[in-house]
Symmetry: none
Subunit: 147 residues, 2 copies
DNA sequence: TTGCGTGCAAAGGTTTTGCATGGCA
DNA sequence: TGCCATGCAAAACCTTTGCACGCAA
């Protein structure tokens, strides 16, 4: 599964291990680098980018972009690829990105596929809206505009 | 529908007019600025960004991010009222943007709202995937990758 | 030894911000 | 007149690249 002529290095292992141990968390390259540095396994930002690039190429990690301004997020992909995984919900108010893991999603997929002949790409799709906390906050005090 | 205390300027009109006349094309801020300059209606890049920000806020324009490295694209959104409660499906293969009009959507909204406390923003959300035509095509001849 | 990997610094690109000027109402 | 808008330059930001050095095999 390894690219021919590639070496195993501590840094590469550290990055992969950190992705795995973070579960399905969304991490930026900078976060990964910082955490590894704090954990006593320093890996430069450049190297983190390069490792993630390769991992993404191999399909072990997926890269996604929310708004294009903040940094890209990387997420570990469970070995099982054809499990539907999950959708992502991005709150436009607080910027929080939340995983949506829900049994009803299968039904939604099926609906799009059967009724609209559309194969939803879960990896790329991000749903935008407002999370419960922010919606509540906005109802309490009107005029709290945020980016 | 205008923000209170906003002025109409030539630049803002020029940007909006250009978006409208470009149909549903995907344009970057730089492209818009260049074309307007070439057309004798100079609008600075900064201003283009600010106009697009506001138009996106008003829902008249949609902002797309492809990879987070190249520039974001902006696209004019038909201002029809009957487009209000519709999701958009974007085919990653042929690029076609399809309006989704379906009674089941209400149920989906309600599901997100009640089960996940998430208010879906229909204006900004685009579902990515593959339309029926392209999925069928891909099954016939393997290896037709497109961006 | 060979050649890939690493990491610093710098470059490249997009988007935002500060600030003085100009224009709408 | 009072704001808001504009646009230049510069900043902020993420990501990539050049290059010398280090390390895996």
């Amino acid at each position: 599964m390894k690219r021919a002529g590639s070496y195993n290095t501590k840094q590469r292992e550290a990055v992969l291990r950190h992705m795995i141990s973070s579960g399905g968390a969304h991490l930026t390259a900078a976060q990964i680098s910082e955490r590894l540095n704090a954990g006593g396994e320093p890996v430069g930002r450049t190297t983190v980018y390069r490792c993630l690039d390769r991992l993404a190429e191999e399909g072990r990690v997926r890269r996604f972009v929310t708004d294009g301004v903040s940094a890209a997020c990387y997420q570990y992909v469970e070995a099982r690829e054809d499990c539907h995984g999950h959708l992502h919900l991005k709150c436009e108010a607080c910027g929080n990105l939340q995983h949506l893991e829900c049994g009803a999603l299968d039904e939604i997929y099926r609906h799009f596929y059967e009724e609209h002949a559309f194969e939803l790409n879960v990896l790329k799709t991000v749903l935008y809206g407002k999370c419960g906390r922010c919606a509540k906050k906005e109802n309490l005090n009107i005029g709290g505009d945020r980016i």
